[in-house]
């Protein structure tokens, strides 16, 4: 959200800072359905965003509101004794997936929700007492002369995760696209709540395999807040280096995939190769190409030797040189520009309304970057410039990535050169009982939000994961409207969203 739009935050909502604070569950104000609806809508109209809806008790749901201007999180709880409340989605389109999730997992009905379909569960979805039937295979349809329907998936051509896409077309033009996911649902949140701590970390790393560092870090942040510890400075620095290399690798990979989709083979080959080199840098630092096993609550597993750090820094220099030359050649090619330009436009208004995040939002003119709005760890001391473009098309989404890569390389190089001399980790004490904490991390796809709640004995009683994909999939559906169906692969790549991160 932008500075000039922000109003003063209401004083009556308990807030927590995003760099290690917690809020006691007992301090979260409870209100009835109508009051809850009005308060959340009002707060979202005065500068906050709805981050998550987290169950606290069988008929109690906490709204986690993200205040980008104040760098803080606000909380407000719904007490739905009747199991229903007026849907927020009517006023806040950004709540649509969160409310469907709440209904599906906990049976709390958002009354008046315009499209209350299952988000993830296909088989065991009906809540017998809700009175609302839900059919995952009933799709929005356009009818009339010359209208035809195209169904794709769940198994796609190529090595890619499963999902179902239902297009309503007139000739080549897409009038509507509905995206039905859930095929990858494997019970992530239940495991994060109930499994042994060692396994929980591994589950967090498997929320989305291409964002292993981002999700591990969000998990660690939430747990460290609950345990009231802070990772040692060297660990914080190394975590930020890994997070930025993860961003570089994926951005470079995306640029290669975009080039491949339009048949620009040099870009596809060279970016693809450079992505591999970035993964190999993560391997040097963590022992795994995706940075698995690096983060742990309390710090990092090991710190690299000075020689290894120097080696990585030297290779980062070379990667930067190669990247600039490949990018310059690619973005000068007329064939690339003509396919990218004006394809799949998302306006700033739509982006704001849907609550989009990450490079997708920044390509549509939204200044939204967790690293600067909610800095934690090393980002409190070192600033990564926020890259914002206006045109909202495939070209803008590609260029945001192209501009973020050198900035991330510069950041990672500086942190590696000045890694503090401290321990790798601190011991983790028991978690504080009856508290709510968040982990907020700017992953390469955008804002990753983890919310953890402890019970009276200090065990986790609720755990919510909001991958940036959950916010952005609807943006892809809207971006396709009025575009040719043959541009779908290109649009899809320019978003490059996670199925696993959405489905959990």
């Amino acid at each position: 959200m932008n500075g000039h739009l922000c109003a003063a935050a209401p004083a009556d909502l308990p807030a927590l800072r995003t760099d290690g604070d917690v809020v006691a569950v007992v301090d979260i104000p409870r209100c009835g359905p109508a009051e809850f609806h009005d308060a959340v809508v009002a707060r979202c109209r005065s500068g906050a965003r709805l981050g998550a809806l987290v169950p606290l008790a069988p008929a109690e749901v906490c709204a986690v509101l993200i205040d980008d201007c104040g760098g803080r999180i606000e909380t407000l709880a719904l007490r739905a004794t009747e199991g229903r409340y007026p849907s927020l989605t009517v006023e806040l389109a950004s709540a649509q997936a969160l409310e469907r999730d709440l209904y599906e997992q906990h049976g709390i009905v958002p009354e008046g929700h315009p499209w209350l379909k299952p988000l993830r569960r296909h088989a065991d979805l009906e809540h017998p007492d809700s009175g609302i039937g839900c059919d995952p295979h009933g799709f929005f349809r356009v009818e009339g002369a010359g209208i035809h329907e195209v169904a794709v998936g769940p198994v796609h051509a190529g090595i890619i995760e499963p999902g179902h896409f239902r297009f309503q077309c007139q000739g080549e033009t897409v009038l509507s696209l509905e995206i039905q996911l859930g095929y990858q649902h494997r019970g992530v949140e239940a495991l994060l709540r109930s499994a042994a701590p060692a396994r929980r970390l591994a589950v967090a790393e498997s929320v989305a395999g291409d964002t292993a560092v981002g999700h591990a870090l969000a998990y660690c942040c939430a747990i460290e807040s609950l345990a009231a510890v802070e990772a040692p400075p060297a660990a914080q620095a190394l975590r930020s280096v890994a997070l930025e290399i993860e961003r570089i690798a994926n951005h470079v990979g995306d640029l290669g995939a975009l080039a491949g989709d339009i048949g620009y083979q040099p870009g596809a080959t060279w970016f693809g190769r450079l992505r591999g080199e970035c993964l190999n840098l993560l391997l040097e630092l963590s022992g795994n190409r995706f940075g698995r096993g690096l983060c742990r609550p309390g710090g990092v597993r090991t710190l690299p030797s000075a020689a290894r750090r120097d080696g990585v820094a030297t290779r980062l220099d070379r990667a930067e040189r190669d990247f600039e030359r490949i990018a310059n050649v690619t973005f000068a090619a007329p064939t690339v520009l003509s396919r990218f330009e004006s394809t799949g436009v998302v306006s700033r208004e739509v982006s704001e309304a849907l609550g989009l995040v990450g490079p997708v939002a920044r390509a549509s003119g939204c200044t939204r970057d967790t690293r600067s709005a909610h800095p934690r760890g090393m980002y409190r001391f070192a600033y990564v410039p926020v890259t914002v473009l206006e045109s909202g098309d495939v070209l803008a989404r590609a260029l945001v990535r192209r501009m973020e890569v050198p900035r991330s390389i510069a950041f990672a190089r500086e942190r590696l050169a000045a890694l503090p001399e401290t321990a790798a980790a601190v011991d983790l004490p028991a978690l504080r009982p009856d508290c709510l904490a968040v982990g907020l991390v700017e992953g390469w796809r955008g804002e990753i939000l983890h919310v953890a709640v402890t019970g009276a004995d200090g065990r986790l009683v609720a755990y919510r994961v909001i991958d940036p994909s959950l916010r952005n999939w609807f943006g892809l559906a809207i971006a396709m409207r009025g575009n040719q169906i043959s541009d779908f692969p290109l649009c899809n790549k320019s978003f490059n969203l996670s199925y696993a991160g959405h489905d959990l």
Binding site: G187, S206, G276, L283, F290, P304, Y499, A500
Partner: protein, 247 residues
Amino acid sequence: MLHALSLRLEFGRATLPSCGVALPDSFRGRPRLDPARCDQSCHECEQACPTGAIATGPLRLDLGACILCGACEQTCTTGAVVLTNDPRLAVNRREDLVLAGEDLRMATALDVESRRVFGRSLKLRQVSAGGCSGCEAELVATGNAIFDLGRFGVQFVASPRHADGLVITGPVSANMREALLETWRATPSPRLVIAVGACAISGAVFHGSPQALGIPEECPVDLYVAGCPPHPLTVLDGILRLLGKMQ
């Protein structure tokens, strides 16, 4: 255009050989067990293991469940478990993945008739069934200029009807089980099944989740490629061994 050509000249050939590539010593690959060093009373590694892959008394490790996180190595004070940087982790039979100190029995070649059918051209259809995209990303990487699986006649194809086998990733989510079986039925016989990654082999971190069902019995697995995710060289090594192109 000239810039592109000059870059092409400068970058040259990037493709790695299919074997003998030394990975960095930080790479966590094939575990080496030394049961004689295990004091069998501390159980630290069992408690540290996120997937229950390791057991003491006697010391044994199930590579099918192991995610190569290195927690056992880090907690072991006697050096009974060491993770080497060897990426070769593919076997023919599930039980071959259980290590107890001996060398890993790596995959062997298919019979002569199967090699005649698949040996020169193997087309595979990939199905992600609850995979987190880690294994999928490494399978994509096997096709890039560095690992170039295509040079051995192995390719991923778009339709199961064009395929000689399936490559399955993920713990097989309940919502994907039917689609996986449909894809399997659409693949003409004779057909292979390759399970890639700890999730597909054992469920790994998702083992026990009511949403993770495992590979259906209808799909008998011919090759297990361990790892989380397996390195592209691990995949290459496994497939080439199966085809008898690597000893």
